[in-house]
């Protein structure tokens, strides 16, 4: 798709503000309801959906194979060794959970800031959060080596009377991630109840009526219910906001509390949170751009959304750049021999290529081009950029984990790291599983919140009494 010239008489532009419209012109309550409900209620699933579903399903089977072999043989099939005991499992864990953060940012923080444009993308961004957290939570569990003992991390009274050790950031992680998963699901489901009511009322088949009828818990749109619903949404948003900031902060503590050079730094919490939102928005773009094209949702997910997400990526990208800069600065300013060596090793050591790759993918390419509104609204460019940033952010975690662990304090403890095919199968398997879950979501649940979109339409506001009496 070519870059669109920004013309004053473009129907996609709001003449009052000169910005792209949040919703395309000429939409009514009924037209948007039918458009969104039709995607779910149609008996004709698009052929392309089946094609991608088959590929993603095959990838999920590959994940099952990799996990089965892992459970039979143990974590020795992976590339993890001493000193690199964390490897792909923790890289993927941090990467996936970071991706989830943008969903909560869109659904909670932008709601509190009354950013109406977020409404169209909030539902599938939340779904993305949930599936990303599912992929993320898999990794620490399988990385413990004996996943059937995973319940030892929970404070449960069992016969050995062993209890968790609450001074460890790894324990904090258990509570941060499990809370995050639970609250994300509750927020997502509560937000979906009115739309499930719409689907119940519009579905023709008996099975769909039962399914959406039960899922919608009998929602009927009473004014009293709406008031409580709005209060609960705002409260959940207010709770999810400090939660999302705490989750990646706690994950960064896994690193920052350790004494290892390259990890033991106070910049990690803000730098991890900003990086999480950065990669998360990239993933929202990677999902939104094909979706709006495939389901013809250009009127609902407009250039305005792509443009605004580009701006947020620009801001968070600069915070990440500050984090990289501060790491380099502290390596010099701390006058700590090991810190300085770790930084030098990151940039010019045997794995220096990965550091320059992440600098190129996370800083050089996005932060020079995202300034341009023309490029921010060029759909093809933004799609490619989103893949670039996600790759770069994966390498950021790779660099943090692998370069620090391979070069410890004592040269006698130095080592190297090379992932095996099982590592790659597990990683790409979770990507396929994520797509698999997401495809089920777009097929069976409303991916755009109809009730929130209705509020953005011109007829939704109540006209003042004087205007009505004047015959308007």
């Amino acid at each position: 798709m070519a870059t669109r010239e920004v013309k004053p008489n473009d129907p996609g532009i709001d003449p009052a503000t000169g910005e792209f419209r949040v919703i395309g012109p000429g939409q009514t309550f009924r037209s948007i309801t039918e458009k969104i409900a039709h995607i779910v209620l149609t008996p004709h699933t698009p052929l392309g959906w089946f094609g991608i579903f088959a590929i993603a399903g095959g990838g999920s089977v590959m994940l099952m194979v990799a996990l089965t072999w892992l459970f039979l043989k143990g974590v020795g099939i992976w590339g993890i060794t001493q000193p690199v005991a964390w490897g792909f499992a923790i890289i993927n864990f941090v990467w996936w959970i970071g991706i989830g953060h943008a969903g909560t940012l869109i659904s909670a923080i932008l709601l509190l800031f009354k950013q109406g444009w977020r409404n169209a993308i909030s539902r599938f961004a939340e779904a993305m959060t949930i599936f990303a957290v599912m992929c993320a939570a898999m990794f620490p569990l399988i990385h413990v080596g004996r996943p059937w003992l995973g319940y030892w991390m929970l404070p449960l009274p069992f016969t050995m009377t062993v209890w968790p050790q609450f001074r460890s950031p790894l324990m904090w992680d258990v509570f941060a991630v499990s809370t995050y998963a639970t609250i994300s699901v509750v927020f997502w489901y509560i937000g979906m109840v009115p739309d499930l009511g719409t689907l119940r009322d519009r579905s023709q088949s008996k099975i769909a009526q039962y399914f959406y009828g039960i899922m919608s818990v009998g929602w009927r749109g009473s004014a009293r219910h709406w008031m409580r619903y709005e209060t609960a949404s705002l409260l959940l948003a207010g709770l999810a906001t400090p939660l999302v900031l705490s989750v990646h902060t706690v994950i960064s503590f896994d690193f920052a509390v350790a004494v290892l050079p390259g990890w033991h730094t106070t910049i990690f919490p803000p730098y991890f949170v900003a990086g999480a939102i950065y990669s998360g928005f990239a993933m929202v773009l990677s999902l939104a751009i094909p979706l709006r094209k495939f389901y013809h949702l250009e009127q609902l997910v407009t250039e305005r959304h792509i443009d605004n997400m580009g701006k947020i990526m620009l801001v968070t990208g600069f915070i990440v750049a500050y984090g990289y800069g501060m790491e380099a600065f502290m390596a010099w300013y701390s006058a700590d021999h090991w810190e300085a060596f770790t930084f030098w090793n990151r940039a010019f050591g045997p794995m220096g290529w990965s550091y320059w790759l992440l600098i190129t993918f996370n800083l050089v390419i996005p932060l020079t081009t995202l300034w341009s509104r023309k490029l921010r609204t060029n759909i093809t460019y933004m799609f490619i950029l989103s893949i670039v940033v996600n790759t770069g952010m994966w390498f950021e975690r790779f660099v943090i984990i692998v370069t620090s662990l391979t070069r410890d304090f004592l040269p006698s403890a130095w080592g190297t790291y090379r992932a095996t095919k099982w590592d790659y199968m597990t990683f790409f398997g979770t990507v396929a599983f994520f797509v698999f879950m997401f495809l089920l979501f777009v097929r069976f649940l409303p991916m755009i919140p109809m009730n929130e979109i209705r509020m953005l339409l011109p007829g939704a506001k109540i006209k003042p009494k004087a205007a009505v009496e004047a015959g308007d």
């Binding site: 809370t179 004014a223 709770l239 009730n451």
Partner: protein, 180 residues
Amino acid sequence: MPAREGTYGLLAEFETPGDLVRAARQAHQDGWRRMDCYTPYPVEEAAEAIGFHRNKVPLITLIGGLLGGAAMFGLETWISVLAYPLNIAGRPTYSWPAFIVPAYEWTILWAGLSAGFGMLALCGLPALYHPLFNAPNFRDGATTDKFFLCLEALDPKFDLHETKAYLGEFKPNSVVEVNY
């Protein structure tokens, strides 16, 4: 117990939220109390028009959050001091700063669960059956693009014919009788 047979109420359908709110406000001024509005998206003015200003969701959320945080902090203290004391690099068994993080997470967890499920409970949901679903035009409109005012039979002012005429004065699209 409310009556489970006969008429539930009269349901007037409006085209715009403005018409609905004007009708609801007038009916509330005329002394109607057993009434409700049904809209496809939140219309704050409609709730105000029928005299519904405050709700208990924030209180439930506050209580849930405080209980969750206190429960987790208490559990950590009990485990670390009494049930399973461990010497971790000579730190005191009651190292409260480290306990704050899980307690903070549980504050949010239980506040969030209380907000979500407390809201549903206050609304009386799940309630898969409701007499309004019997109205022929309700299910097509109330969750899509129509705005409804229901005056219920339990209100002492209710009289099938008079109320029907009363609702007709607001020029709705239609007024239908809803049965249990």
